[in-house]
């Protein structure tokens, strides 16, 4: 077993200029080793993470990281995810950050666990650590007969150990599992064979909601003389039913819905990002990566184009659900309210529910249980609050509350529309001399947070004593919301990139996979194609000219072109580095456009991606491909519309169609691995490049430039008609 070198090795033996590797932030906040890694009496390893599985394969990847660092078989490692009071608070599972943060925390904690155990073994055997060898937790030394395993070496000091500083980790060159294929997902078998989702949780009562037509409607009248076969909960305009039988709960909710009359209490603002709304938007030009309030610089441009995307849905396949149990009289030591939820941020959820119910934060326990894929901020948190409201009315009985399909489509926070104005000037040599990017839109950030001004849970505003949501405010950190990936990956001699924030969305809008990156990259990469066409240069050559010293982006571009064999034919290209910091992805799309129906069929996608060190190649591919398919669905088919009272008009899969099996392309994915670098998030990396590759392929196939999504046959005809 090679001895692990301290981080200072690069600085030389004399220690001059000694580099100190900092601890990952999670371990600074929670230094207690036992909060991250535990060895159980039955010979297993339990790893604790505050992050959650949302179909991205996270638990499998974290298991691999821990097994690798500890030198135990992955099958021995169980990863326990997000449970308040038990797992470390690692914030919300979002932004493709979990491998970077929780992965780094668990890797370092595992390295410490291994180091402590080997030090103990070294003392017991009288053999220096450097000569010990570990295989599946069993420790051996040459010439020593006695064998020890990790589990024999646990003592009180190990259990109480506080991580003081960084300890060297296993060099990637020695990896056996990390970066290697063949890891079967830990959660898939159960999902195909048994109860595995929060929807499947056992409960005494099943609850359903009776929702108004929109959040702007309030209850006018409810004839509650209906004979009551279960429990009816009415609090202002929050109406729900509960019954021991699920089918009865559904039937009863339908009957109550028939009796309820609603009135439109608030008129919602217009949904369109029209000229008037753009003029009233607050401008934040980006300076050193951050949006700052102030006038944008005028840079003259000669070539301009405007792109847009509509409101989009997360449209989870399973309607949101949660369970809640409100204990009648709490023991001082036990929580009063226990929730099972598919929330991506259980700690925030707990804080906000505490505020909304008046319970103490410590009086609430929230455990993450898998839901259907959510792709951002969907109804999971709202459903948890709904379940808590019903549970409060029936103390001592566990309630499982589910939204209907209509609730889900009608009330999830939507992905906001975007309006993007691009401008450029080309010099005599066909290079971009000046570049402007103005992106307009509503907030992409309204997850519930205990630090927010309001209570951002859907039903809060419907209560008899309403709790108002937070006013929407522009997010001004680098690479969030509207301006995520508004900065181009290219080096231009002059550029001005500006975020334009519009307050007052007509509906709730929040994080949808990639946030602003999808619209911004769609616009940038479509525009780059338009400019390449103008300059009479091939799309890939034109991009290369502007990639400057970005060798990793060039390598990804090359890999996509090599895989696809180039761009000849009906093909288009898209390229971006997610958040200008994480996974760099290039996508080539090939399309066929039917002359008579104007329908676009995507025949094939090639994806190349650099996500730093690859932890789980199969999981990474799955994420990259899933994002690409979802983006195709958005771009080809999806748009939310509203009725005259501002209610979402698309309430089922027929009025909100998504891509089907017969419509998905074959996909080939190439990973550009960098074992020497840290891994970076990739789950959202392909949505932007795929969107642009599609538009550029449609242009290659038809000569039609589609700048407004979705690219339906009607849209194509409109563009053709000019």
């Amino acid at each position: 077993m090679p001895l692990r070198q301290p981080a200072a090795r690069a600085a030389g033996a004399n220690g001059v200029g000694r580099l100190v590797t900092p601890l990952p932030p999670g371990l600074t906040t929670v230094p207690s080793l036992g909060r991250w890694i535990r060895l159980t009496d039955d010979g297993r390893v339990v790893a604790l993470t505050g992050k959650v599985e949302i179909g991205q394969g996270l638990l499998t990847a974290l298991r691999t990281v821990v097994a690798e660092e500890l030198d135990v078989e992955p099958g021995r490692v169980e990863v326990v995810s997000a449970h308040t009071g038990r797992t470390p608070d690692e914030g919300t599972t979002a932004g493709s950050m979990s491998i970077e943060t929780s992965g780094a925390n668990l890797r370092q904690a595992s390295a410490w666990a291994r180091r402590l155990l080997l030090e103990r073994a070294s003392n017991r055997l009288g053999v220096p650590v450097a000569r010990l060898d570990v295989a599946d937790g069993e420790i051996r030394a040459p010439g020593v007969n006695e064998r020890l395993d990790y589990w024999q070496l646990i003592d009180a000091a190990f259990l109480d150990f506080e991580i003081p500083e960084h300890t060297p980790e296993k060099p990637p060159a020695e990896y056996r599992w990390v970066g290697h294929a063949g890891q079967r997902r830990v959660d898939v078998e159960a999902k195909a064979t048994a109860a595995a989702f929060v929807h499947d949780a056992p409960a005494e009562l099943h609850a359903r909601l009776v929702r108004p037509p929109s959040v702007n409607h309030r209850l006018a009248e409810l004839d509650i003389r209906v004979a009551s076969p279960g429990t009816l909960v009415v609090d202002g305009s929050f109406v729900a039913v509960a019954h021991p039988s699920e089918s009865e709960a559904v039937r009863w909710a339908e009957r109550v819905a028939d009796k309820a009359r609603w009135r439109l209490a608030l008129r919602s603002p217009r949904a369109e990002i029209d000229e008037q709304r753009r003029a009233a938007a607050a401008a934040f030009p980006i300076r050193d990566g951050r949006p700052v309030r102030g006038p944008r610089r005028e840079i003259p441009t000669t070539f301009r184009a405007t792109y847009s995307r509509p409101f989009l849905m997360h449209a989870s396949l399973g309607p949101s659900a949660a369970s809640a149990l409100w204990h009648a009289d709490g023991l001082a030591s036990a929580p009063r309210l226990v929730i099972e939820s598919a929330s991506q941020g259980i700690e925030s959820l707990r804080g906000v529910i505490a505020r909304a119910t008046g319970l103490d934060v410590d009086g609430i326990e929230v455990r993450h249980v898998a839901g259907a894929g959510c792709y951002g901020h969907n109804g999971a948190d709202d459903a948890a609050f709904d379940a808590a409201l019903v549970a409060r009315a029936v103390p001592g009985r566990k309630v499982l509350l589910k939204w209907s399909r209509e609730d889900e489509h009608g009330f999830e926070p939507l992905g906001p529309p975007m309006h993007i104005e691009m401008g450029a000037k080309l010099d005599a040599r066909g290079r971009v001399a000046a570049w402007t990017h103005d992106v307009y839109g509503f907030t992409h950030v309204s997850r519930p947070s205990p630090r927010a001004a309001g209570v951002d849970l859907l039903s809060a505003r419907l209560l008899g004593e309403p709790l108002e949501p937070s006013p929407s405010r522009p997010a001004l950190a680098p690479e969030v919301g509207i301006h995520r990936n508004a900065l181009p990956i290219y080096a231009f001699p002059a550029q001005e990139v500006t975020k334009h924030f519009i307050a007052g969305a007509p509906v709730r809008t929040s994080a949808l996979r990639g946030l602003g990156a999808q619209g911004n990259v769609f616009a940038i990469e479509s525009f780059m194609d338009e400019l390449a066409h103008e300059a009479d240069v091939s799309p890939d050559e034109f991009r290369r000219r502007h990639l400057g010293q970005d060798a990793r982006a060039v390598a990804v571009l090359d890999a996509a072109l090599a895989a696809s064999g180039g761009l000849a034919g009906n093909r288009g290209l898209g390229l971006a580095r997610y958040k200008n910091r994480q996974c760099c992805a290039a996508v080539v799309a090939e399309v066929a456009v039917d002359d008579s129906t104007a329908a676009i069929r995507v025949a094939k996608l090639w994806i190349a991606a650099d996500a730093g060190r690859v932890i789980d190649p199969d999981g990474l591919r799955n994420q990259l491909e899933g994002g690409a398919i979802q983006a195709l669905s958005w771009c080809l088919k999806e748009a939310v519309t509203f009725d005259s009272e501002g209610a979402v008009a698309n309430r089922d899969w027929e009025s909100y169609p998504i891509l089907r099996f017969s419509e998905v392309p074959t996909v080939e994915t190439v990973l550009v691995d960098h074992p020497e670098l840290d891994p970076v998030g990739a789950g959202e990396a392909t949505v932007g490049p795929t969107s642009a590759a599609l538009a550029n392929a449609v242009f290659a196939a038809t000569g039609l430039r589609v700048r407004d999504l979705p690219m339906t046959p009607e849209r194509l005809r409109q563009v053709a008609a000019g």
Binding site: A192, V250, R405, W653
Partner: protein, 147 residues
């Protein structure tokens, strides 16, 4: 009581559940067969798919009474090559659509063990997946079909 077979074993439900959609009868406390998933209740997503005497049905709308004396099969009972191939290939993301896909694919492979990619896609066209697992599902099943 109304008798039927569920994944090869004898099962029953009460007379007054005759008109209840099958999915609730399968999932309620008596049977607790949780793999059929509720997605829409509208025959639009396929998450609730089960086989009734070998043909795919929507459990979200099919009245339970319709399965009297018939054989209902769910993903939980399909321990053959189709489910194995999908699990081994990690051919899912969140997995919510997976049981329905297992059922629809099983129905196809029983009739035709060597379907082409296009035939598989057509057989699965009523199964929605929002996570974008389709390419991988199609890869796993075309490999199983021997292509």
């Amino acid at each position: 009581m109304i008798a039927f077979r569920l994944d090869g074993r004898a099962a029953q439900f009460s007379e007054d559940q005759r008109d209840t959609p099958l999915i609730y009868v399968l999932r309620d406390d008596g049977l607790r067969e949780m793999t059929p998933k509720f997605g829409c209740g509208l025959e639009q997503c396929g998450a609730c798919r089960v086989l009734v005497d070998g043909s795919p049905e929507y459990a979200c709308t099919l009245p339970a009474g319709a399965v009297a004396n018939r054989h209902v099969e769910t993903s939980a009972g399909m321990d053959g090559a189709v489910r194995r191939a999908l699990i081994d290939a990690n051919a899912t993301q969140c997995g919510y659509c997976l049981p329905g896909i297992v059922v629809a694919a099983e129905a196809l492979f029983r009739v035709d063990p060597h379907p082409t990619r296009d035939q598989i896609a057509e057989a699965l066209d009523a199964q929605l997946c929002r996570c974008g697992s389709q390419p991988r599902v199609l890869r796993a099943l075309t490999a199983l079909a021997g292509w």
